[in-house]
């Protein structure tokens, strides 16, 4: 790992602009394209938005800790909240359902788009949740060349 830093922001939607700017700059440092910078920024924004809406139920008194790890070939972003436990299984089912629905043009509903976007953009998405310590969402995005190598190594493993 080359660099790592943490930021802690209140669970206030107003703070998302600051989070987006920070993540965009971190992505630029790793060497992502403009398009990828925008996509990763969006995924992190969606992760934070879901924390505010679902883990803190819209309350602005909570906190989100964002750990950013910069590597030569990837960026890893860990979002941690201290709010309500989430139902990971329910979330998985929601993503599957959403993907199926989106295949059928015109049958779209507003809910669940954020989670679907996170899964579409990031190469790795992992949730860990518990009643005592909130939820940890780990997001990883590889640089294009590194992603191809990662896919190749996974398929041969």
């Amino acid at each position: 790992m080359k660099e790592s830093f943490d930021i802690k922001v209140p669970s206030n939607p107003r703070m998302m602009q600051l989070v987006r700017k920070t993540i965009a700059q971190a992505c630029e440092m790793v060497g992502f394209s403009e398009r990828e910078v925008h996509a990763v920024t969006l995924a992190v924004d969606e992760g934070c938005t879901n924390i505010i809406r679902h883990c803190y139920q819209g309350s602005e008194t909570g906190h989100i800790v964002i750990r950013v790890r910069l590597y030569d070939d990837k960026i890893e972003i860990i979002l941690r909240d201290f709010g309500d436990e989430i139902d990971v299984e329910k979330l998985r089912k929601c993503v599957k359902k959403m993907k199926r629905k989106l295949k059928r043009s015109g049958s779209v509903r507003p809910g669940g788009l954020g989670v679907m976007l996170i899964h579409s953009i990031m190469d790795k998405v992992h949730y860990k949740t518990s009643q005592d310590s909130g939820t940890v969402l780990r997001l990883v995005k590889y640089l294009s060349d590194a992603r191809e190598k990662e896919i190749a190594s996974n398929s041969t493993a």
Binding site: P13, R14, M16, Q17, R20, R35, H38, A39, L42, D45, E46, T49, I52, R53, L102, K103, S105, G106, V108, R109, P110, G111, L113, G114, M116, L117, S120, I121
Partner: protein, 112 residues
């Protein structure tokens, strides 16, 4: 974010500028809801000055499409920047909405 609404009996244009996210999307939602309550036949949302939109913004537009659909109205989007277009593509909504290159085209084309 700034929301400017111009409308007459038959058409309405909602011009948005700035980032559309969880913080700002309620303002856009308010404008869309008010116009759909009046059953304006054609609503065009001009996103010329929007560089960033997250799922709460997209969900608000989906809601607009559904609200206008209830009274057989027309809901159109105009002037998507590439960054916003990409969000629509990722959410696979580029085929769900009527999207136009310019506000003029969105206002001129007869309802499908």
């Amino acid at each position: 974010m700034q929301v400017i609404v111009q409308h007459d009996k038959n058409t309405a244009v909602i011009s948005i500028s700035g980032d559309v996210d969880l913080y700002s999307s309620p303002e856009m939602r308010k404008a869309i809801t008010q116009l759909s309550k009046k059953k304006v036949p054609l609503i065009v949302v001009n996103l010329k000055d929007v560089d960033y939109m997250d799922s709460s913004g997209v969900a608000t537009l989906v809601e607009g499409l559904q609200l206008t659909g209830k009274y057989k109205g027309c809901f159109r989007i105009a002037c998507l920047k590439p960054t916003v277009w990409e969000v629509f593509e990722l959410a696979r909504l580029d085929r769900v909405f009527e999207i136009y290159e310019t506000e003029e085209k969105a206002l001129k084309v007869s309802p499908l």
